[in-house]
């Protein structure tokens, strides 16, 4: 579905393609409908707004999730070896794909349990890396962190009560009149979130620019060849590799708890109603991304 729509756009926008060909080698964060696509981004990373892709590429290729290893978090895979057969019991939309997960793990597993036994752990069915499961869930759930069923072990009543408290507090902060509107920003596949003050920007363009700087580290890590993150010397190559990367769409949650595409409403209205931001993988934004493409079309 995504392929057909994107390829049709390619054919009708060949002109636009050629104009922006140079842009394609740059990695930028672009909002649909903004003139951002024209902007020279330097070392930024283009995460979305790329309705145009290279020939022969799927518009929304998958992030190789297994290669996303968080810098901040400990690599759980260190503690496991072998092929993961069992995993966390999950529900709520994301199926546990035990078999596939197991084979993916082979790349990243080493047995290194610190302990007296230097031998291989003989257990045939060890744990799946937590990060992998987290990332898989990230792509399906609007929540930014994957949630294992029943973990942490907190009763539903308490969880629900605290969730209401927090959202109330956030809204209160936003209206505090102190002139700052802090909202969380999550990016699918990233191991942690960021918080930004919407009031420090006065346009969508500024917001995009800031976000691309903030989240560039994740995409570099993702698209490093051979899945090795954080290797500086690969930086140049990575930027080019993002050509083949998947598109991202910037979305936000408004006061009615609906997920909206960023860029539709005037900036002030947006800052008033935005509760949190999510940089969504293009493949998840099938409802949203085509509109993004249309907007670009109309603006060119």
């Amino acid at each position: 579905m995504e392929n057909s729509s994107s390829s049709s756009i390619v054919s009708t926008e060949s002109e636009k393609n050629s104009v922006l060909n140079l842009k394609e080698t740059e990695l930028r964060l672009g909002l649909p409908g903004s003139d951002f696509l024209e902007k020279k981004a330097g070392t930024g990373i283009s995460l979305f707004g790329k309705d145009l892709k290279d020939e022969g590429n799927n518009g929304f290729s998958q992030i190789p999730l297994k290669n996303l290893v968080s810098g901040a978090k400990r690599v759980f895979s260190d503690a496991i070896d072998g092929s993961g057969k069992w995993g966390f019991s999950m529900k709520g939309g994301s199926e546990v794909d035990l078999g596939n997960g197991g084979s993916e793990n082979n790349n990243t597993l080493q047995s290194c349990l610190a302990g007296p036994s230097g031998k291989e752990i003989g257990n045939p069915n060890p744990a799946k890396p937590v990060e992998d499961k987290k990332n898989e869930n990230n792509s399906t759930a609007p929540a930014s962190k994957a949630q294992v069923v029943g973990w942490p072990p907190i009763r539903s009543f308490r969880k629900n009560t605290l969730a209401t408290n927090l959202s109330k507090n956030n809204v209160v902060e936003g209206k505090s009149g102190l002139g700052c509107v802090y909202v969380k920003v999550s990016m699918d596949g990233a191991p942690y979130l960021r918080k930004i003050d919407l009031k420090t920007y006065c346009s969508y363009a500024e917001l995009s620019s800031a976000l691309e700087k903030m989240f560039s580290c994740f995409t570099i890590g993702q698209y490093a060849p051979h899945g090795l993150p954080g290797q500086e010397h690969l930086r140049e190559n990575c930027l080019k590799d993002l050509l083949h990367g998947s598109e991202y769409v910037l979305t936000y949650e408004d006061k009615d708890s609906d997920w909206m595409l960023v860029g539709d409403v005037p900036w002030e209205m947006f800052t008033d109603s935005c509760k949190r931001l999510r940089i969504m993988k293009g493949s998840d934004a099938t409802g949203l991304a085509p509109r993004a493409m249309q907007k670009c079309k109309s603006q060119s």
């Binding site: 995993g87 302990g115 257990n123 744990a127 069923v149 009560t161 408290n165 927090l166």
Partner: protein, 590 residues
């Protein structure tokens, strides 16, 4: 031990050996024995007493008035009815504890209705019913309300299946109600009208807790109720009650021993603020304070006057900062139990350590459990600080994102009397963040140092070594919770072989397989239950267990789409009632 009891025991056992063991003139008359035994209240003591001999078994069963059933499926209503003729109070627990965390599907069972039907027949004078993790419908509640004329106390914790309509029935029909305690249930809230169903003659309430219900109740009805019930000692209202309404309630009930406030945020005039302060200072008997939703530094000071007598402060729904907590605990030197959210951070816990030397129990809950930001919440530093200042600490539940082996070792050195140690490092499999090593030594230190340890919950990156330690040292351990831990069958085997007092073992997402399961074959009959989910157990091992041990119920639930051979969720428990007859189709009884 009571010397009288000892004496009767000796003569009893002597006569049991003689050929005339049934000749009761040798012994105390039954009435005397029964009189003595009626003074026993602990159900564990009563269990022991009933095993002495037949006479004692009979005397005990005639004098037991309080029934405690830790697993509703371990026995049947019929068996209970046959054995105990005079029950006035029943405590029933149903689902496995992990059902609190959504690991048990709906309609699993533990329905109380068949019990109620039996109670109505055999115990028409039933006065108290306390249910935990049971399912009950509104019909059951109506049945309860109308079948027991002397019914006094209803306590529902973590139950599901009913709605506020059922509560209406209770309020309407139970004329002598002294206790209505509704806590954290999966309840359908159709409005607060149930409160208005209390008759205007009802003045017997001593305990009223509806803190976990969400809808508004009629404040007028509540106020009148509180005014009439002069013996009210526990009142926990819900969020719909505002601060000025709370003040009006407190004025009617200054005798309260336990108070749960409503919402603690409201624009108050200076006069209202003063009145509220006065109301709190007039509550001279207040020992427990909870609720405090949305409390901020603006209104917390009204509490200070009441804090001096507090022994239990439950702030687990108040997102307090460290400075706000500091001021509160500074006024509460007599605190024995404190529950907080991790918004107070390490700094807040430091003030606890310095202000509450008598503290025995600390619980720190996560305000935002799914947040990944490492800069929020508490760390090992907070726990350490509390352990330095509160040497009497024996119960802890601590949710954190980082911990070290060294910190835990120091903590248990400071507080060697832990009976309940529940540490939850929220990221599964998280190692010692300083050394990157597993957390084995932390829990090793806990079990080595805390010889009175009854309950342990482990977390973080753990190898079999943790379980070796547990098996070797935790000789008083009764309850063990394991998640995302261990390396092989050996871990679980060590625990099963090494912990003589183990009663409840619950395991999830750990690499324990068939060998581990089957190593406990003889152990499970001495335990209440075993839960294993997302482990490596297969159906064949479960079937083997079921076959070898007829007095164990082995139940398996499978996840959608999983291999036919995998036993995704296994629940094993001893039972004299045989396999249960109300199992839903997704529960396979082997």
């Amino acid at each position: 031990m009571d010397p009288k009891l000892k004496k009767t025991k000796d003569s009893s056992s002597n006569s049991a050996n003689s050929p005339d063991s049934t000749h009761s003139s040798f012994l105390f008359p039954d009435e005397v024995l029964e009189r003595v035994l009626s003074l026993l209240h602990s159900h564990k003591d009563r269990s022991s007493v009933s095993l002495v001999c037949k006479d004692w078994y009979n005397a005990e069963r005639w004098t037991r008035t309080k029934l405690f059933i830790g697993n509703c499926y371990s026995v049947s209503p019929e068996i209970v009815a046959r054995r105990f003729p005079r029950i006035k109070s029943v405590t029933l627990k149903g689902k496995p504890r992990f059902s609190d965390f959504n690991l048990v599907p709906q309609y699993w069972g533990a329905d109380v209705h068949s019990w109620l039907v039996m109670f109505a027949k055999v115990y028409p004078f039933l006065e108290e019913l306390r249910l935990k993790r049971m399912t009950l419908s509104d019909e059951s509640l109506k049945f309860l309300a109308t079948s027991f004329p002397g019914f006094k106390a209803l306590s529902l914790l973590s139950c599901d299946g009913f709605s506020t309509d059922g509560l209406k029935a209770i309020a309407t029909h139970c004329k002598n109600l002294t206790e209505l305690d509704i806590q954290e249930n999966g309840i359908d809230d159709f409005g607060g009208g149930w409160l208005s169903c209390f008759s205007e003659n009802c003045s017997s309430l001593e305990v009223l807790n509806f803190a976990s219900l969400s809808s508004d109740v009629s404040f007028d009805a509540l106020e009148k109720l509180v005014r009439r019930c002069k013996s009210l000692r526990i009142l926990k209202v819900n969020k719909s009650i505002s601060l000025d309404q709370l003040q009006q309630l407190l004025v009617q009930a200054p005798q309260l021993i336990e108070l749960g406030t409503g919402s603690f945020q409201q624009e108050l005039t200076p006069r209202q603020y003063e009145d509220l302060e006065t109301a709190f200072s007039n509550c001279k008997n207040l020992q427990t304070l909870s609720g405090l939703w949305e409390a901020t530094s603006l209104h917390l000071p009204v509490l200070y006057a009441a804090c001096a007598s507090l022994t239990f402060l439950n702030l687990s729904y108040a997102t307090l900062r460290s400075d706000e907590l500091a001021k509160l605990v500074a006024h509460s030197p007599n605190l024995r139990r404190l529950w907080v959210l991790d918004t107070v951070e390490d700094k807040g816990l430091e003030t606890v350590g310095s202000s509450c030397p008598l503290l025995e129990e600390l619980r720190v809950y996560p305000a935002d459990p799914f947040e990944l930001d490492l800069h929020h919440g508490v760390t090992e530093a907070g726990f350490l600080a509390v352990s330095h200042g509160c040497r009497k600490l024996h119960y802890v539940l601590y949710f954190c994102r980082q911990m070290t082996n060294a910190a835990v070792a120091t903590i248990v050195q400071n507080c060697p009397d832990f009976t309940h140690f529940r540490l939850c490092i929220m990221n599964p499999g998280e190692p010692d963040y300083l050394t990157n090593e597993p957390m084995d030594e932390a829990f090793g230190a806990v079990v080595k140092t805390c010889t009175n340890l009854q309950r342990l919950a482990v977390s973080g990156l753990l190898t079999d070594l943790t379980f070796e330690y547990i098996g070797r040292y935790a000789k008083n351990l009764e309850t063990l919770s394991v998640a995302f831990a261990g390396s092989s069958d050996r871990g679980m085997q060590c625990v099963l072989q090494g912990c003589p007092k183990l009663r409840k073992l619950e395991i999830r997402d750990s690499p324990f397989g068939n060998a581990a399961l089957l190593s406990g074959v003889e152990k499970y009959e001495t335990m209440r239950s075993l839960w294993m989910s997302a482990c490596n157990v297969t159906m064949s091992a479960c079937r083997l267990l079921a076959k070898d041990m007829p007095r164990l119920n082995v139940e398996v639930m499978r996840d959608e789409g999983s291999d036919d051979r995998q036993a995704d969720k296994v629940y094993v428990y001893r039972s004299v009632a045989g396999p249960r007859r109300d199992a839903p189709p997704f529960v396979l009884t082997l």
